[in-house]
């Protein structure tokens, strides 16, 4: 018995100890070879994220995002494909489609006839970019914009695609782009929300926009987008009720905030602090907003630039003008949505109307920002959630056709704020697949954040045990888009 006990002890003698030790040290060494910084940086917590200040000197301070909701066709706007006209009515070659998925709307079609643009294209500017005749005013500012012809996304239907563009995820429970910006950079003007939303609607076939697109998600609710409406009171519930004057309101707010302070001390819920801040901001907005939304003092030149529609509230032109004023007043992120770009049928007619709605005002916004010296610090983005197919959906006639959803390539443009003007990326001659410099939605987000002075990998928020990013776990900054 005793012997066994001693033998048991002998199981670990010096020789065994050393040989095992060497094994252990060896595996440590192997580990460090495989993961170089396993002993270096590991363990130490990375520096906490400080919201409200850019990580490095930004190129752009503010964003105006002219979202073309419904997905405008790239083939009638910025991606010139003469081949499609040549091959009008011929079948889309399977070697181009490569069996990629289609939406339920055309997957049942027995034939996929190619259809060329109804509208002619011409070359403009130093970059000799091809732009369709539907966008004559955009063509005039072509040297200020960067046309990205190689955007692609993962979603094939409106809502997921839109949600993907606006929140970095298709499911719609994340913080939106503007909310991230508000969180990351804070508000410049404390009398206005950092994130404003303006809606307009064209006559074309439309798709809805929902408030989830400007939701703060898991971020503090102060980062939520505030919708400005076209009615008598642009911001709902902002005006004092009848019989209440500013002094009254002030008194009420003071007392309310005293109560709120008390419960904040008691419960420590940060949402209470947010609430107090929001009441205070709403009070200051009462004077800031009417001044901003009053378009009647704009000079004739400005009206001519944006077009007469800019004085009709609720139009895209009016929203562009308002966006300029908001941006000038330090609103960090202004999100416009123009609905009506979903041309499954009757594309040539509907698209002409849609283009007419937005072309002049979009170009005017760039010109106006430029003459105020603001284009350098404001990033303007124009584009939809995906592209449209090169083949016809439904019946094709000599001058009428439709196009289905196409996520594999589409065009957007960006201007100002450190963007390199020109044309970026290329699609094949059928306008179906990207052949050069693809830009994924995550890459687009990463690049825009970079222009705003934020590292997309550092702009994080910890929620339910993991750190969230606008770019999720992907995305790379694209140097070719930046000046």
């Amino acid at each position: 018995m005793k012997n066994e006990f001693i033998e048991h002890h002998l199981n670990m003698n010096r020789r065994k100890f050393l040989s095992r030790l060497s094994l252990g040290v060896g595996s440590l060494a192997l580990g460090s070879l495989l993961i170089p910084d396993i002993f270096g940086k590991g363990g130490a917590e990375e520096a906490p994220f400080i919201p409200g200040v850019p990580h490095f000197a930004p190129k752009a301070k503010r964003i105006i995002y002219l979202f073309q909701n419904g997905a405008p066709s790239q083939l009638e706007s910025f991606d010139y494909k003469p081949k499609l006209r040549e091959m009008m009515g011929q079948e889309l070659p399977p070697s181009i489609r490569m069996g990629q998925r289609l939406t339920g709307m055309t997957s049942g079609q027995s034939s996929f006839p190619l259809v060329g643009s109804h509208y002619d294209f011409k070359q403009y500017g130093d970059s000799r970019a091809w732009i369709s005749d539907l966008f004559p005013h955009t063509a005039k500012i072509v040297d200020d914009i960067c046309i990205v012809r190689s955007m692609f996304t993962e979603a094939i239907n409106h809502d997921p695609a839109l949600t993907f563009f606006q929140t970095g995820a298709q499911q719609g429970n994340r913080a939106s782009f503007g909310s991230w910006m508000s969180y990351g950079l804070g508000s410049e003007n404390k009398n206005l929300p950092a994130f404003c939303v303006l809606l307009s609607r064209g006559k074309g076939n439309g798709q809805g926009v929902y408030s989830k697109l400007w939701s703060n998600g898991f971020l503090d609710s102060i980062h939520q987008g505030v919708q400005f409406s076209s009615g008598e009171s642009p911001v709902l519930y902002l005006n004092n009720p009848e019989g209440i004057d500013m002094a009254n309101r002030r008194q009420m707010l003071d007392q309310l905030s005293a109560l709120n302070d008390q419960s904040l001390k008691e419960f420590g819920d940060p949402e209470i602090a947010t609430k107090i801040q929001q009441y205070e901001m709403a009070y200051r907005m009462q004077t800031a907003v009417p001044e901003l939304t009053d378009l009647s003092k704009e000079s004739d030149d400005i009206i001519k630039m944006y077009g007469p529609e800019c004085l009709v509230p609720g139009t895209f032109a009016a929203n562009c003008l308002l966006a300029r004023k908001l941006s000038e007043s330090g609103v960090r992120f202004i999100q416009l949505y123009h609905q009506g770009w979903d041309q499954h049928g009757n594309l040539p007619n509907e698209m002409a109307g849609q283009a007419k709605d937005v072309d002049r005002a979009s170009a005017a916004l760039i010109t106006d920002l430029k003459q105020r010296g603001l284009l350098d610090e404001t990033l303007v983005i124009w584009g939809g959630e995906f592209g449209r197919t090169n083949y016809c959906q439904g019946k094709m006639t000599a001058d009428n056709y439709g196009r289905d959803h196409h996520p594999r390539c589409f065009s957007i443009w960006m201007a100002g704020g450190g963007v390199k003007p020109g044309v970026y990326g290329e699609t094949d001659e059928f306008g179906y697949n990207i052949i050069k410099d693809p830009v994924h939605v995550h890459d687009f987000h990463a690049t825009v954040l970079h222009l705003m002075g934020l590292d997309h990998e550092k702009l994080t928020f910890k929620h339910q045990g993991r750190r969230y990013r606008l770019t999720d776990v992907a995305g790379k900054v694209i140097p070719g888009l930046m000046a």
Binding site: V53, D300, I302, G373
Partner: protein, 723 residues
């Protein structure tokens, strides 16, 4: 004296060594005449294998030469052993050199540069090692001389080995990973040359191991532009401008398993970008001097280069001042004056002011403690006075100053001329004049001047631009003289149906726009038609057509609004059949609320029926004389909404005693009908009625041309009028 013992074979070895040295001499002298049989080539190719023997043997011999053993017997044995080592080493060196000379006869090894040096140093090893051996064998050993010889041998070994490695692996193979110059993209974009910094590194990395001056396989060397131009055994390497017919690209594009594919299978291949880069370089004329920055902005080569090279060296502004006290910045920040650093941990500060009611001169004065850090001040639309410029001129670090649409008169602009760094100044929307601007000529760093919407005329601005040569004068949006079309007048009324009379209100959003109208259905004219003033009273069914006109604009498209009189409003209304649950409007009231439903069927102002008729009964407390019942309906064939198939109007003194007054069959909907609101007139001889029933029947089946053919049609109703 140590006895010299010899191994038995040493004499033979010594002789062999001598003979071999002679043979080397022969090979060297008659190298040009020698033609190599293939089997010797095999031997020659074993040169890289054998060369390790002389290296090791001679090195060990060298070490032993420097070791002295105390035991004489051991020392003797050591010397003998060293001699034997030296002999084998020298012999192997001789064989290696012979093989090397054979190898150098093969194609691709031209006799220049590194190869020459390698050859002579290799031969040098042979001779020095042989000499050392014979020296050791001589009766009087000279230790010093031997040691010196050993050192020389080792040196030669190192040199030869290194040169040999350069031939097989390319120049600077060993040190390349740590040589910073070897790293890609070290050259900034604006200084890079296409050949030197883009093309050559690719060739160096992927081709020049075999195609260099020392080892020009296929008689192709790539070190120098001349050599590239010359090409190799198979001909010219490329035709400038024609990559399609250029050998270089042909070889690169061959399938990997093709015999002539380059680089050969197993060697590092070119990436797609690298191939593309060579393609565009050849396509662009294979220029050896071109600068990347000189390429056109959207040249493929330039774009490709941008991703490979370091970005252009940005002249990022350098700020050589220390950061301000964070607490002070915090204290000066308020809701209407925001001060923030340009980035995290950066010293420069930016100031923005908001809300003109909260702004006064003190708002600037209070910032003076931060005058060393503030580089931007955005004061647009604030009531900044001329006197404030004096305060502002103390902010010596200012780069950007926005004073547009402020209360400046321009009298004190000279104060700003002293700002040493001021680059961008905006005076738009202020009444500055030419004379006042002259003061700014002295501003040393000025680059941008915003002057639109000032007292300056277009000619003045031109003059400013020529006076300020280094400054970009921003003149703002210039109306190109193209006339624009006005938008349509807007109707402010909500009700389109009136009982006795109505005040018609038309408005136009643009100041000074005139509205002209007609009520007789004719097209309004911008000069003849009456001008709409404030409001218009109408008391009968009226269709007004109106246009907006303004000087400097084209008149708008006409807009048409119809107003309908409804003399009586029923006291009660009852829907006998219920509308579809999706389009309930606001219940039966929808039909008599004096609101037209417009053309949007989904706006809640319509009652929609599908597959069944609308049947509605309306009662008047007192009998009313009626000769017309008009029913508002909708036609939108695309949305399956058709004009009703028929409308029947029944009337009488009460619900039990109704008789048919009128039956109307409206025109059926056709294929490309536009979306229109209908007002279907049902007139009959004047009758006194207190109960009226209207039955509106949808078409039973959609016609065959419609996508929803066979389905029951929809019918929509908004307003029923009685006259």
């Amino acid at each position: 004296m140590i006895l010299k013992q010899r191994f038995r074979w040493q004499a033979a070895g010594s002789n062999l060594l001598f003979a071999a040295n002679i043979f080397i001499l022969f090979l060297l002298v008659f190298s040009s005449q020698v033609v190599l049989p293939p089997w010797l080539q095999v031997l020659g190719r074993m040169h890289p294998l054998l060369l390790h023997f002389p290296i090791v043997l001679l090195l060990v011999a060298a070490i032993l030469t420097f070791i002295r053993l105390r035991e004489p017997a051991a020392e003797a044995w050591k010397q003998q052993f060293t001699a034997a080592l030296l002999l084998t080493g020298a012999l192997s060196a001789v064989v290696t050199v012979i093989m090397g000379l054979f190898l150098s006869k093969e194609e691709g090894y031209n006799g220049s540069g590194i190869l020459q040096w390698h050859k002579w140093s290799g031969v040098g090893i042979c001779w020095v090692a042989s000499a050392l051996y014979w020296l050791g064998q001589s009766a009087t050993p000279r230790l010093r001389l031997q040691q010196a010889g050993v050192v020389i041998t080792v040196l030669l070994l190192v040199i030869t080995g290194h040169l040999g490695a350069d031939i097989t692996h390319g120049e600077n193979f060993v040190m390349a990973p740590v040589t910073p110059a070897g790293k890609k993209g070290a050259v900034p974009f604006d200084q890079a040359l296409v050949y030197e910094h883009l093309v050559k590194p690719i060739l160096e990395e992927k081709c020049m191991n075999c195609h260099n001056a020392g080892k020009a396989k296929g008689e192709l060397a790539m070190d120098l532009p001349q050599q590239l131009l010359k090409g190799g055994k198979s001909g010219k390497l490329f035709v400038a401008g024609k990559p399609e017919v250029s050998l270089l690209l042909e070889r690169l594009h061959m399938p990997l398993d093709a015999k002539k594919h380059m680089p050969p299978a197993g060697k590092p291949q070119l990436t797609d970008e690298e191939v593309a880069l060579l393609y565009y370089w050849v396509k662009g004329g294979a220029d050896f001097k071109a600068k990347v920055a000189a390429l056109p902005a959207h040249d493929s080569l330039r774009l490709l280069a941008a991703t490979m090279l370091q970005p252009e060296e940005k002249k990022e502004p350098v700020h050589d001042f220390s950061a301000a006290d964070e607490k002070l910045v915090e204290k000066l920040n308020n809701n209407y004056r925001v001060i923030y650093p340009i980035a995290l941990h950066a010293a420069p500060l930016v100031v923005n002011c908001y809300n003109k009611d909260q702004f006064n001169s003190k708002a600037i004065e209070e910032l003076l403690p931060l005058k060393k850090q503030i580089i931007e001040m955005h004061l647009q639309k604030m009531p900044v006075q001329d006197a404030d410029l004096k305060t502002i001129s103390q902010f010596q670090q200012l780069r950007t100053l926005n004073l547009s649409f402020t209360n400046l008169k321009g009298k004190t602009l000279d104060a700003l001329a002293s700002l040493p760094h001021l680059e961008s100044l905006s005076l738009s929307g202020t009444p500055v004049t030419m004379a006042e601007l002259q003061a700014l000529k002295k501003a040393p760093a000025l680059k941008e001047l915003y002057l639109w919407n000032t007292a300056l005329t277009a000619a003045d601005l031109q003059q400013v631009q020529s006076a300020f040569k280094q400054v970009a004068v921003i003149k703002g949006f210039m109306d190109e003289g193209n006339l624009l079309k006005l938008n349509q007048p807007q109707l402010m009324n909500t009700a389109m149906i009136f009982r006795d009379h109505i005040q018609l209100l038309l408005k136009h959003p643009i100041r000074g726009a005139e509205i002209r109208y007609t009520t007789d259905g004719s097209a309004p004219d911008s000069t003849q038609s009456p001008v709409f003033k404030d409001s218009l009273l109408i008391d009968k069914n009226t269709t007004i057509r109106a246009i907006a006109c303004k000087k400097g604009w084209y008149a708008s498209e006409p807009v048409t609004y119809s107003f309908y009189k409804s003399s009586y409003i029923p006291d009660s209304i009852l829907l006998v059949t219920q509308p579809h649950s999706s389009y309930p409007g606001i219940g039966p009231k929808t039909l008599i609320d004096l609101q037209k439903g417009g053309v949007e069927h989904g706006n809640g102002k319509w009652l929609g029926y599908n597959g069944k008729p609308m049947e509605v009964v309306m009662l008047f407390k007192k009998p009313v004389p009626v000769q017309q019942v008009a029913v508002g309906s909708l036609s939108n064939v695309g949305a399956y909404i058709f004009p009703p198939a028929k409308i029947e109007v029944w009337g009488g003194v009460d619900a039990q005693h109704l008789k048919l007054l009128k039956r109307v069959m409206p025109v059926a909907g056709k294929k490309d009908d536009p979306v229109t609101a209908l007002d279907i007139d049902c007139s009959f001889p004047l009758t006194s009625l207190s109960c009226i029933k209207v039955i509106m029947t949808p078409i039973p089946k959609l016609p065959d041309w419609h996508p929803g053919k066979g389905n029951p049609g929809w019918v929509f109703a908004d307003e029923i009028r009685f006259n």
